[in-house]
């Protein structure tokens, strides 16, 4: 996967597989600190110590319909090969937090890619999950709280054509506003 935003979808799907109903995402891009940080935290089933240890092993998975789980191992390897730090903190029954940090200027760092599309498709594709998203750059902060939007528009509003267009345009505009020139 060529974009960090595609790895983010993979992490979101892991949270969904772990039956999360709330997913918190933090993306921080700081040119002044030469840092790009991706944090995803869920309230899903969580993992025990053995599962955390093995999560970075490509031949370990708890998913019954799948032979190997490659998402986390590949992402961890990319982060570490860019001199970054990859960490999983999890507790059975309480959820999981994945923290990835790397140097923004590292020559091997994949581009952040189309973050707006990743967030838009994940939000609409999982209408039963609440997303609390914060994107912080030197240009500003964008926050998206889908629970608040649903409360305002109605629980089943996310598959309404007008709402789909509204969310796509808003997410696109706001993210482009703080990620000028691409990362």
């Amino acid at each position: 996967m060529e974009e960090l935003s595609l790895h983010l979808i993979d992490l979101i799907e892991n949270s969904i597989s772990a039956k999360a109903s709330l997913i918190k995402i933090l993306i921080e891009v700081s040119k002044s600190n030469d840092l790009i940080k991706i944090v995803i935290e869920d309230n899903g089933e969580g993992m025990n110590e053995e599962e955390i240890e093995k999560a970075k092993d490509p031949f370990f998975t708890t998913k019954k319909n799948k032979k190997v789980g490659l998402g986390i191992p590949i992402f961890a390897q990319i982060v570490e090969s860019c001199g970054g730090r990859f960490e999983i903190v999890s507790q059975k029954g309480k959820g999981t937090k994945v923290n990835a940090e790397m140097k923004l200027s590292h020559i091997d760092r994949p581009p952040l890619g189309d973050l707006a599309s990743t967030l838009f498709t994940s939000i609409i594709g999982h209408p039963d999950v609440d997303f609390l998203i914060k994107i912080k750059t030197d240009e500003g902060i964008v926050e998206i709280n889908t629970a608040e939007i649903k409360e305002f528009l109605g629980e089943s509003s996310f598959n309404h054509p007008e709402v789909i267009i509204f969310l796509r345009e808003n997410i696109d505009r706001e993210i482009k506003g703080i990620l000028k020139g691409g990362i």
């Binding site: 996967m1 799907e13 799948k66 789980g69 599309s117 498709t121 594709g125 054509p161 796509r168």
Partner: protein, 116 residues
């Protein structure tokens, strides 16, 4: 997202949402979003599906994501679920995704050349 924009949107969709309350959508379009699906372009496929559904104002269609299907070589995979049948399409591109909405979802013609 400005509160004023959300308020305007709520006024626009309120009646529609009331009418749909408790009614199952006529069609569910489900995109597989496992690691291999994502790598094969599932996000762009999902985006094309959502764009087509929204543009054509298909209010009885819902587009959802699901996990790995275990058919990595056929990704991106799209399922079209209706009361009558579930049809699974493989190696879907954004262009094929748009065709699926127009031909299958709207016109009711299964695109057999892409079925797996």
């Amino acid at each position: 997202m400005k509160i004023e924009e959300l308020r305007k949107l709520r006024e626009k969709v309120r009646e529609d949402l009331k009418l749909r309350e408790g009614i199952e959508p006529r069609v569910k379009i489900i995109v597989s979003m496992g690691t291999s699906g994502i790598a094969a372009g599932a996000r762009e496929v999902l985006k094309a599906l959502l764009d087509e559904v929204a543009k054509r104002e298909l209010k009885d269609v819902i587009v959802l994501q699901t996990g790995e299907k275990g058919l990595a070589s056929a990704e991106p995979i799209v399922e079209v679920v209706t009361k009558e049948a579930t049809i699974t399409y493989g190696r879907v591109t954004p262009e094929i995704a748009r065709k699926i909405v127009i031909e299958h979802v709207i016109n009711g013609r299964v695109l057999s050349e892409y079925v797996i």
